[in-house]
Amino acid sequence: MVVALYGAFLYAPTEREMGEVQRIFYFHVGAAWNCFLAFFGVFLGGVGYLITRKRIWDHLAASCVEVGVVFTTIVLTTGPIWARPIWNTWWPWGDPRVMTTMVLWLIYVAYLMLRSSLPEGETKYKYCAVFGIIGFLDVPIVWFSIRWWRTIHPVVITSSGAELELEMIHALIVSVIAMTVLLVTLVMLRMAMSLNFSVAEEMTLNVRHSDRRVEGV
């Protein structure tokens, strides 16, 4: 991660047209790729849970959602910061990538809301798994429908297809890899946390159960 930071700020030369703001690009692309990867993790967790009914899959899904929503928020905040000086607009309506990421963010948040309003138990894991699966299947559909809609209503803003110099490509690759590693690390940490929670839960339940047994004598 440190290497990526160095690469983004010091190694890559200042982009010709856009100036310093372009450096956001390094974090933005890494975060964007990863938020979709995290959602794939949610899908895997959902399918895994529905097939095996093992709680570890639910832990995977929940951790991916929490970390994924953070990455998506990063994408949606760094995006406008970059866009304002370059395209003179905070929010380009109609751009398929922007809109799909927005919808992805909404689905993430909806998942979290669903998760928090269900009581602990099998039902919760099942319902979240189902929603995760349907959400993941939906994302490509959303992408295509927005792209189709965009061809009907052409938007004035064109994306800047800048050529990248060699050092920039290096910096980009390094930062994407770094972000991916960051994602995996965070998900793993979060999963460890979930597992600890559930172990603690079980121990609490066991203690209560044995208390009752003692009293019942």
């Binding site: 689905i107 909806a110 809301m113 669903l114 189902v130 929603f131 299947l137 939906d138 809609w149």
Partner: protein
């Protein structure tokens, strides 16, 4: 028991309940009309900008009352505990889904057509062949809406905050239905090039199929205990 017969019977049961006391139907229609009227006040009625926004207004008025229907569809099951009786039937749970879906779809189509009539009157569109095309769009998008909505509605039926939660869950997912529907309506009403209308219809059909398939498979997990 023949699963197709089960589907029909289930849908028929739901629709009969709604028919006997038309309260839910009227409430839903009234809510939609209210939305149309509020938008009338929200925008300057004479301006061309409002006329251009009219297709969007129609679809807002169609979507939000749909949520009411979806919530109600499982509310009765919850209150009377009849869901267990349904689950006990030997047919594949997917047909349970189809039965509920059919009832929701037909109900929504009925509501939507009444709202469409009111919309044409309020916003001064002439009754012509346009009416039929918009009806087609409504039929298709109500199907997709009901497909995802029945699945999610079953999920949230046990949650206290279901009225708020269902729209939050549903709308991001059915965005691909809303886009072609609004776009198609725009084409028809504002008479731009009609060629993309076919594409809208094709897309709606494609998305409906995907949502139906996903719902059919996943409903089992939602309802099973």
């Amino acid at each position: 028991m023949n699963p197709v017969a089960l589907t029909w019977i289930l849908a028929g049961k739901d629709l009969k309940i709604e028919y006997r006391s038309r309260q839910a139907f009227l409430t839903t229609v009234f809510f939609a009309l209210l939305i149309l009227v509020i938008f009338n006040f929200a925008f300057d009625p004479g301006s061309p900008a409002t006329r251009e926004a009219a297709p969007g207004i129609l679809w807002v008025a169609l979507l939000f009352p749909g949520i009411i229907r979806l919530n109600r569809s499982f509310q009765l099951e919850m209150e009377e505990g009849t869901l267990y009786g349904l689950i006990l039937s030997p047919a594949d749970r997917g047909f349970l889904y189809l039965g509920k879906l059919l009832a929701n779809w037909l109900f929504l189509m009925a509501v939507d057509l009444v709202v469409l009539l009111a919309f044409m009157i309020f916003y001064n569109f002439s009754f012509s062949i346009q009416f039929l095309w918009i009806a087609v769009l409504i039929v298709l998008s109500a199907l997709g809406f009901s497909a995802v909505g029945t699945l999610l509605g079953a999920m949230v039926s046990t949650i206290r905050t279901r009225e708020v939660l269902l729209p939050i869950l549903l709308f991001p997912i059915i965005l691909p239905i809303i886009l072609p529907a609004v776009n198609g309506t725009q084409e028809i009403l504002l008479a731009q090039e009609i060629q993309s209308l076919n594409r809208s219809v094709e897309l709606l059909i494609a998305f409906d199929v995907i949502y139906l398939a996903a719902g059919f498979v996943l409903f089992d997990y939602v309802v099973a205990d």
